[in-house]
Subunit: 335 residues, 2 copies
């Protein structure tokens, strides 16, 4: 069998190209897949040479000379105007069958626009949705849409649920995944008209294990495997959750540092016991690596803007799994 | 000067009437205000006698014989049908000038409906908004609307900002409070048409220190003092934040308990150093106690369903401050 080929936009993300390239090289070394690093060739080669005895057979570097003309208000136009940019070329590799998946960190709007423009939608699927993995106290789950489509319709929420079911099964190994509608209360009838309509569509879809409305304060306890909502709501949820996780870990650090000798001793012991690393591994987004853009004719993963090498490597791992299990075929069949 | 009189619905909340009554008694003893406990008189007297040498001059118990006929889909109708219920009578005391503020824990919908029905709106104010205090890593801030009005208009978000400015100054001692619009990105032009309109209304209001769009992952770092949004979005944010805070503290507990002898020792030392109590004091909603229902002709505070005695006492403290500083007059003048 041919190795899975993953194109990575080496220029996107807060720590690009350094962390992105390092993550790609790490993936090429450990995951038995081929990595195509797309971006400013000289910069990428320099990092590759400095960090590793470049280049194994699993790594290819492809030059993308242009910067993307960023235009916040219209990322689609920005992408169209920049066919020589790394994000454009990386997506084009997938569209042309020269790569099996694309990974981009950094500007979500531009990455979504590029994949939408170049990979195109699956017929019947109006807008891509960001399928984000979030932590629960015990496990992980999917939140869809994480912010691709700020005015997701009720019908689109149903499509998100169908994709989420497949992903939760494949990536998180959940059997008969429990699907919830993220809402402002758990009772039926909660939320806007659109949410009430989404509720009834989800309820009518017999292929789904729909458990009703769910809330942010309860899904954290692993009460469902997929929560669907519109992209505005999903993005608000994700960022508030990120804020909450950060606040508590920062608060703990501060309280230890300002708590006197005893607090510092306790903190030191906990650190040495591995407790803090364990927490980080479970809750940090780098440990999942990326979110599939659902509903497109190609595997495209978006990583967090602050992605480290670890995040990129983990995104590659996820991408490889999705390609090998042929998730695209399953998604097309489910719609 | 007459003592501030606070009516408390003793029957609302997960731990009612026990915790509510205990909190009210604690407030009466320590805050130099008069507490009127409204509910099943026999039950309240029993708790009061068991817990304290009832009753000081600062406590009055008022019988409310009826249960509220709860109707999830229409809490307003449920309240109207139950004039003998504790939530109705407690609000009526304020409307009749027999109390200066009302506090209710438990069902937010019913509490909001009762205050809206009985205290009525300030002229020009279409819908009440829940003015929630949330933690940041260093301080506290207001999030408005916390979930009273799931389809808040852009104009109503402006009104929320005007109330938030007053509250952040009075309750949190913030000078020239920084006002942000909670959105899915920090750049101008983000969000739905409604959010773009709210942005321009907030920008045009010269009395406000408007700092633009803000996000859940950044406001946690104390970057603004008031974030406004529609009630659906605010409720999603609050519950995701609550989930995030809980996940990290539960995760820490689990990692300590399952981390072996060294982890347990570190955890024990940290506990004895007071670090965990300090974290709880800063992040737990009981330490703020309640959220003002803004835009009504009376001071009405809603407390979390899981309110403890501490939460009720702290809500009384907040209510007393709002009454003494005559916030209602300021709100009316600001609109």
């Amino acid at each position: 069998m041919q190795k899975v080929r993953i194109a990575i936009d080496a220029m996107g993300g807060d720590y690009a190209p350094l962390e992105i390239v390092k993550g790609g090289i790490e993936a090429a070394k450990t995951l038995d897949c081929k990595i195509i690093l797309v971006g400013k060739k000289e910069q990428i080669e320099k990092i590759a040479l400095e960090n590793h005895s470049c280049c194994t057979d699993n790594i290819e570097i492809l030059d993308a000379p242009d910067d993307i003309a960023m235009d916040e208000k219209n990322p689609a136009r920005a992408v169209r105007k920049s066919p020589g940019s790394s994000i454009y070329i990386a997506n084009k590799l997938v569209a042309d069958g020269k790569a099996d998946a694309v990974i981009a960190a950094g500007h979500t709007g531009a990455a979504t626009a590029a994949s939408l423009l170049i990979l195109k939608r699956i017929s019947g699927f109006e807008r891509p949705c960001i399928c984000t993995i979030i932590p629960t106290t015990k496990s992980r789950m999917y939140l869809i849409d994480g912010g691709s489509n700020i005015e997701t319709s009720a019908e689109q929420m149903l499509q998100s649920a169908l994709i989420g079911k497949l992903l939760a099964g494949l990536v998180l190994n959940k059997e008969n995944p429990r699907i919830g509608l993220l809402n402002v209360g758990s009772e039926e009838g909660k939320g806007t008209d659109k949410y009430q309509l989404a509720y009834s569509l989800l309820q009518q879809e017999s292929s789904l294990n729909f458990i009703g409305n769910v809330e942010g304060k309860t899904i954290i306890d692993d009460t469902c495997d997929v929560a669907v909502c519109d992209g505005f709501t999903g993005n608000i949820h994700l960022k508030a959750l990120e804020g909450g996780l950060k606040a508590m870990s920062e608060g703990l650090k501060q309280a230890i540092n300002n708590g006197g000798a005893l607090a510092k001793l306790g903190g030191l012991i906990l650190k040495n016991s591995g407790v803090f690393n364990k927490l980080r591994d479970h809750f940090h987004p780098d440990s999942y690596g990326g979110a599939l853009l659902g509903g497109l004719n190609g595997i495209s993963l978006i990583s967090h803007g602050s992605s480290s090498a670890e995040a990129i490597k983990n995104a590659c791992k996820q991408a490889k799994l999705l390609v090998e299990k042929n998730i695209l075929e399953d998604i097309k069949n489910s719609l």
